[in-house]
Symmetry: D2
């Protein structure tokens, strides 16, 4: 019972390695009748391409999504939606020099420990290319959620310890780094150049928000909406922490500061909230406010510094990685984290439907 499926009603199962023929996924449980074609998947995949900001490499990747099943005459049919993205460049590089060395910060040694051996070509299944299937799957979830009035957006709030102003993130989707404030972009570009010149890497923080989520989503007690979101976001490689709403700040607040007041009235609504420290979730169930989560992204472990490590035989060795590595998982991880919230919410929506006769 491996872990390549996400969701319980809206379920995405993914497969594929970085240097095999391709990657893909199967979505089971998507309602019938949703308009869908390959351009929907492609639009999201294109956001994950290298070159969306200087932090990523300039390697050419052109990932073309194909839909194999589950769509007929432009609409989902209720049967499994399978999609596929062929790997463009599978030429047999020589991996002999690294196949027995455990790269620090990578999964080389843990994959070996788990399975007894591993596909050492470019990380195999543990490669970041795996996230391609998440983004394609998330694109389908997005179509479903949009039909319900829900919109999810994600943007970078911090890169290399430089924080952006997030007071007006609306245009972030179209900016380099998915920056919520255009003013931060030059500083981030500078930081990236500097780190790159040092052969080093940096991390950052990404915020993901869902607008238009009605009250009632989330399944107490173990599958609270925040628990499932934490699971979803933390499942993305490089993420080391997840906050909901005020997160760690809540741990340092008084109750009187952290509680969100509930205010009667508000145009046509029964109530509004005085603040959103809860991140839109109370007792594990959505409250009708915006869902707000943040993910801490570690620096990419592949650096051009000499690092101490061992080989499979347990012998000491020094490793210095060459090649054109990304300086940061940001910005390419941003659409991936967005996709995970989309998948989590689509599933929560379908779980909630019809749980009450009242």
């Amino acid at each position: 019972m491996s872990g390549n499926t996400f969701g319980r009603v809206f379920r995405l199962t993914t497969y594929g390695e970085s240097h095999g023929p391709g990657l893909g996924g199967v979505i089971d449980g998507c309602p019938a009748g949703i308009e869908l074609d390959e351009s929907v998947l492609q639009a999201e995949l294109d956001k994950r391409k290298p070159g969306q900001g200087l932090a990523s490499t300039t390697r050419k990747e052109s990932d073309q999504a194909v839909i194999i099943s589950g769509v007929f005459e432009g609409k989902t049919t209720g049967t499994p939606i399978a999609f596929y993205v062929a790997n463009q460049d599978q030429r047999s590089r020589d991996y002999t020099s690294v196949q027995d060395i455990y790269r620090p910060g990578h999964g080389d040694l843990t994959y070996d420990a788990k399975y007894g051996f591993r596909d050492y070509r470019g990380g195999g299944r543990s490669s970041g290319r795996e996230t391609l299937s998440r983004v394609a799957g998330g694109a389908v979830a997005q179509e479903f959620l949009r039909s319900k009035g829900v919109e999810v957006r994600a943007y970078t709030v911090e890169l290399g310890s430089l924080a952006a102003d997030i007071s007006d993130p609306a245009g972030a989707q179209d900016r380099p780094f998915f920056a919520p404030d255009p003013a931060i972009i030059p500083a981030w570009e500078e930081r990236v150049k500097e780190v790159k010149s040092q052969g080093n890497s940096i991390g950052g923080i990404v915020q993901v928000e869902a607008l238009g989520v009605p009250a009632g989503l989330g399944e107490p007690v173990f599958d609270k909406l925040d628990a499932v979101l934490a699971h979803a976001l933390m499942s993305v490689g490089a993420v080391k922490a997840v906050e909901i709403g005020a997160g760690f700040d809540a741990a340092r607040s008084l109750g009187s500061e952290n509680n969100d007041a509930i205010i009667a009235g508000g145009e046509g609504k029964d109530f509004v909230f005085g603040s959103n420290h809860a991140g839109g979730i109370l007792a594990g169930i959505s409250s009708g406010q915006a869902i707000v989560a943040r993910a801490a992204v570690k620096p990419i472990p592949s650096i051009a510094h000499e690092q101490q490590t061992v080989n499979r035989a347990g012998e000491s060795t020094l490793l210095k990685m060459g090649g054109r590595h990304d300086v940061s998982a940001i910005p390419r991880i941003v659409p991936v984290l967005k996709a995970m919230m989309l998948l989590a919410l689509a599933d929560a929506w379908l779980l909630q439907e019809r749980q009450s006769l009242v």
Copy 2:
């Protein structure tokens, strides 16, 4: 498909409300042959009792666990282990005054939104008493994991913004507040008294660690060990953030700082690590280092301040809660978070067993 079951192989299903006859759980998938009796559950439940530190109320609670099935002649049989804890005090208090008011920071309004109505007596299913079943279930997981050489411990690292020294947490289990350093206890007591006198509440941070976990646990790509731990810890009410290893600090480090060097040798081991920023997990799989996670706990929302809120009819009202409320979920949440890591690891262990023929 509600969310009252945790785990895939070692599965805990819980039930019960704060003011019904009692609470309990069923563990399905616990291996046969583990020594178990009620004292094992009781020992963990007693750590969750009020009065383990001044932050908790002085209410008397004496929760006695009974095992109903799955144990024969002192050993688990492989069939479901059911346990039960009767509620001591079910006398019919008058809840009329609060049944229609949505307490800020509580799940009153979200439960109503989800199910159409709710059990308003003391929070019903959303009450903290629900965690009793987690602790009892975790106690069984602990017996299984101890038979494999794994030990989990949890302690408070911060309370009301006052951080403890965590360099030697070994004795924390037996101290007030589960304090990792006895020197912090007076300061925490002082802080609790002060906040209590103000009718307010505070949060804090809890660290949970597992020692003796072998490399290989965790199921890529969606059920990475860190993702499942985040899910487990965030599913506990009041938790608003989860970090693994360096957590948010990783997001602000350089790759050269954050990577854990792998060092050959080390008595009888193939290698050791130069640091543990990864928190014992690489690419979602345990690396053989200690598993380290932290949870941010929000202040308890029940405070003796006047708060603005609404009733079910959407009318504005002011609420001031009386009664003897805890000042903080800490320390009582500490054994609950420990239980969640125990449950997550027992499940990960059984998932991993026999996935490789090599």
Copy 3:
């Protein structure tokens, strides 16, 4: 990942052994707002009592169901519904003589093989008393389904090779043996007396039907409604075969005979069917016709004949069972099979209510 949970959305988890403190179950996923009290469970449990026909023993059993959680002010709340039935008679009989002997036709040797040892008191978990929890769970499913206009009924179509006329089964619920035709009762009574006097046992065939099921339930391709029903019915001890609709007769028919013609009109309906060889299921999805299934029940293996067997040491031994054993699992198995169809249909209903936007 043991097998003590049935269903995916409407989920029943059961526990308990024949000679422990009691048996029970937890239903997770039952919608909120359904009227429910203990009398609903009791009414079904009473149908499973001994003495519903001469085939059962005259032992006194009075199984009283208690609801522990999930119901508030007479309605389900959407949280887990836990119920419990205490074992009346747990006095410590002497099982020394049989604890090491493998009874032919029982699970003694397979439980030992699976778990390494077993609870040998009266079968432990493999005892027929386990079905009590299915019946109680089915009673809750029945309330949900009745609110949707679905009615399930079950009756005996054959006992000891004597077949009943099933042309008018409406009154079967209230007759001995759940007989669909009162005229068969004397013959069945005679057959039971005869077999009992010989210290032997007999099997039979039970039919279970659901009326009022709309078209659309069932999840292709692996969880077709017929597949799930076969799973549900075959999971009851003693069942050795399951047919849907024409069953084995279909295998011996021509296509022209077996196809059910679809006939336009029919009072207010788009169509009716000329026959129901399909048993109400086409391509794994309910068609709107009555769902019809049959289960073959083997004779009870506990007989007063001398039987050749072995003990745990592998030594040959002869076993002759005394005690007051039932002559047949019929009629007590009839409400159990009904309960399994109720559980399967409640789950199928909630699975379907999530699948189409059209």
Copy 4:
């Protein structure tokens, strides 16, 4: 939560329609280290080709399986195994005439009822081509089980009411109709010719057996091995009944006849059985005997007779199907049923390898 995944640890998820680009599947949870290449899948797929006996059409199909992921240097890696089979012939036939007509015995009306509309080209997802993915998945399960000493075989025991002698089925895999006795083949050929000339169709009965299964597989109480096998076999389109061991005959036997005696000794074994009415399963757990199941296969509903039916508008119409239809699902269904037992047993094996410390 649709039903396109089978299994809990060894999980097969399938997708694809008869007239889309292709069909495929993803196996998650297959242990690492099993030798596997495409020829393994192809060998089983070839047994499912038309022309394996006169009952099938003479259409040319050449289904070539491609492995996309999960295999590296000839061995499974523990990551998802994805396979794909392109549809050869997707030319756009004109389906206008049948797209609004509900074919009797087919899923046309139930798919419409469930999803609101359907892919009407050749049955879409409800087409028998779907079973291709089962056979490919079963081929992988077979490699795993063979590494454990388990062998599964399937053969036709009855076709068009003509029963074969099954006393020596060893050579059936290589004979027309998967006939267990070559002597029956001429009679079956004659029957098929006759029925074909009448534009009609016939059903039959298939037996599936597993040899070398150790005692201990199967998960009481709801996921007994017989329950899971019934689910697996009944999930194949056209199957209307499943028997385990003596099946319906058990319902008509006395306990003294149906019990399988347990006999001490037997070369190096603790015991052997005097018969196998139980079909190798006691109390839902394998006993060490051969697992024996039978499936009743209905006649193919596509016949060249005029049949009464309705269209989507509910209007009466007569339908007479042309085209080269198979006369029977037998023999092509035989490798499909074998695959389902393989999948069920591989899963049961991995579920069991986690349950006892003894």
